[in-house]
Symmetry: C2
Subunit: 278 residues, 2 copies
C-alpha cells in the first residue's frame, strides 16, 4: 500500500528537539521562519517567558500549541509527594489553558523510590489522573496519557501500552485521551487495534521520531524520521483511519547528534523528513 505524504501544514515542533541551543522565543520565531505551524513547549522552556507572555508571542507568530509537555509523575512514596504532584498538575493544566494547548501531555511516572510495586504505581496513576481530571475539564484542557516505551516503566511512566491507556480512558471518562508517540509504541503487536479502539475522540497528539539501530542510550539516542526502523507512514495511516486530523509533532531526544546541530538546520531537516518519512 502506497501512503500519500502528509500535509505539510501539520508539522509541529516539540521544543525538546532543539532544547539545547534555543530559548523558547527563538524556537517560536524559528518555527515561523520555517513555516512550521505547530509548537509544543516543555515547561522548563515555558518558564522563560511565563505562560501568558509565551501565549502572546506564539499567537503573534501564528502558531498553534499542539500540546504542553508535561504533567504526570503521579506516584510518590508518601501522601505529601502525591499531593505535590497533584498541585503541580493543576498548575500545568492552568498553563495549558492559557496557551490554548490542544492537550496537556501526561508522562504518568514510574515506581516511587524504593518500590517494586508496579501495580501499586499504576493505581496511583489512575487515582492521580482522576483527582485532576475535573479541573482539566472545567478549564477545557484535554489530558493526554502518553504511553512510554516499556524501558521507562521503572523511572518515567508505568503506562507502557495503548491498551493500558485505553483502559484508563474507559475507566476515567470524558476529558482524557492519548498521545501516540511512534517511538514508544511502534513495537506493539496490538498497536493497530488499540489505535482503532482509541478513535478520533481520544487521539489527542501524534509524535514522531525514529528508533535507531543500534540505540546507544535509553533516553537521549532517538533518531530523526527516516534514520531508523519505524514505519511512520503506516502508523500515521492507522491514526488517520481512526479519524485523527491533528498535527505531527517532532520530538527528538538526541544528546550526541541533533542537540549538537544548529537548530535552523534541524528544523529544515524536520520539514524534509516529514514529507519523505512520515
Amino acid at each position: 500500500m502506497k501512503i500519500a505524504p502528509p500535509e505539510e501544514g501539520l508539522l509541529s515542533l516539540n521544543t525538546a528537539t532543539v532544547r539545547e541551543k534555543w530559548s523558547l522565543r527563538e524556537m517560536i520565531e524559528g518555527c515561523a521562519r520555517h513555516h512550521i505551524r505547530g509548537i509544543s513547549p516543555w515547561r522548563d522552556k515555558l518558564a522563560e517567558l511565563g505562560a501568558k507572555q509565551a501565549a502572546r508571542v506564539i499567537r503573534d507568530n501564528g502558531l498553534v500549541v499542539t500540546g504542553l509537555c508535561r504533567g504526570g509523575m503521579f506516584p510518590a512514596a508518601d501522601r505529601k509527594g502525591r499531593q505535590a504532584a497533584l498541585d503541580d498538575n493543576r498548575r500545568a493544566i492552568d498553563d495549558a489553558a492559557i496557551l490554548e494547548a490542544r492537550c496537556l501531555v501526561l508522562v504518568v511516572g514510574g515506581l516511587p523510590s524504593g518500590s517494586k510495586d508496579i501495580a501499586g504505581a499504576r493505581e496511583m496513576v489512575r487515582d492521580g489522573i482522576g483527582e485532576v481530571l475535573e479541573h482539566a475539564r472545567s478549564v477545557g484542557v484535554p489530558l493526554a496519557i502518553e504511553p512510554l516505551h516499556p524501558m521507562y516503566a521503572a523511572d518515567r511512566a508505568c503506562v507502557n501500552t495503548m491498551a493500558h491507556a485505553n483502559d484508563l480512558c474507559d475507566e476515567l471518562g470524558e476529558g482524557l485521551g492519548i498521545a501516540v508517540d511512534v517511538y514508544h509504541v511502534w513495537w506493539d503487536p496490538q498497536l493497530e487495534r488499540e489505535i482503532e479502539r482509541a478513535g478520533d475522540k481520544r487521539l489527542l497528539a501524534f509524535h514522531v521520531c525514529d528508533w535507531l539501530v543500534p540505540t546507544r542510550d535509553l533516553l537521549t539516542d532517538r533518531g530523526m524520521m527516516g534514520d531508523g526502523v519505524i514505519d511512520i507512514p503506516l502508523i500515521r495511516s492507522w491514526v488517520e483511519r481512526a479519524g485523527y486530523r491533528g498535527f505531527h509533532e517532532v520530538e527528538i531526544f538526541s544528546a550526541q547528534n541533533w542537540w549538537q546541530r544548529e537548530p535552523d538546520e534541524v528544523l529544515a531537516i524536520c520539514r524534509e523528513r516529514h514529507q519523505l518519512y512520515c
Copy 2:
C-alpha cells in the same frame, strides 16, 4: 502476601552470567562446587567441548541442562538467509537433544537488515518455528520462545510479550512453549493473565535477574536479583500457580559489574540472592 523462599535446589546457572572469565568446563565444575544443580549453556561455550563431551561432563557432575541458548533468529532479507537460519536451528535442536536439555530457548530475531516491516518479520518467525518444530518434536526437544523486552524488537526479537508468544503457541501447537525471563516481561500489565494462560505445559523455563535504575546500557547492564525493581517472588508465585515446577535460571548480562568479578564470588552471591530475592 508473604511468599516463601524458593527451593534451593532449583537454582540454575545460565552461562552468560560468568561468560567472560570461565570456560564451560569451569562453569560446570563451579556449579557442582556451589551446589547449583542446573546449567544452561550458550552455544559459543558449548562449542568449546562439543555437545557430546559437554553432555558427559555435565552428567558426571550431576547437573541438569535447564535449557540450551539459543536457537531462533529466523527473519532474514532473503531466502538463503532464512534457509541458513533453519539449518542452524536444526543443529541447535540436535545439540539440545544430546544434552537432554529441558528446552531449546528461541531468541526469535528482529527486523531483517534494511527492513521496517515488523509484521513481516513476525510472519517469518512464525513460519520459521513452524518449519523446525516437527524436527524438534521428533527428537523430543521442546522449543521455548523467549519474549524479549520491547527495546530489542528491532535487532534481537520481535516477539516481545507473553501474549504474542501464547498466540504463536496456539497457532503452532504441540512441542512449543515459552521461556519467561523476568527482565523482559516484568513491566507487562498482562503478565499475570498471560502466565496463567500459558499454564504448566507451556512454561518451559524461568529466568531471573533484575532491572536496574538507572539502566546504563540496553544490553549489558542487567542486575543481580535484589539490586533492581523487579518483584521476582511475585512473578515466581504466578508461574508456580500455573503449575511450573522447574528451575530458576540466573542470566545476567553485566559488562561493567558481574562479568568483571571472580565467578566463584558471583555464584556464591547468586545462591544467597536466590533465597533472598527470588
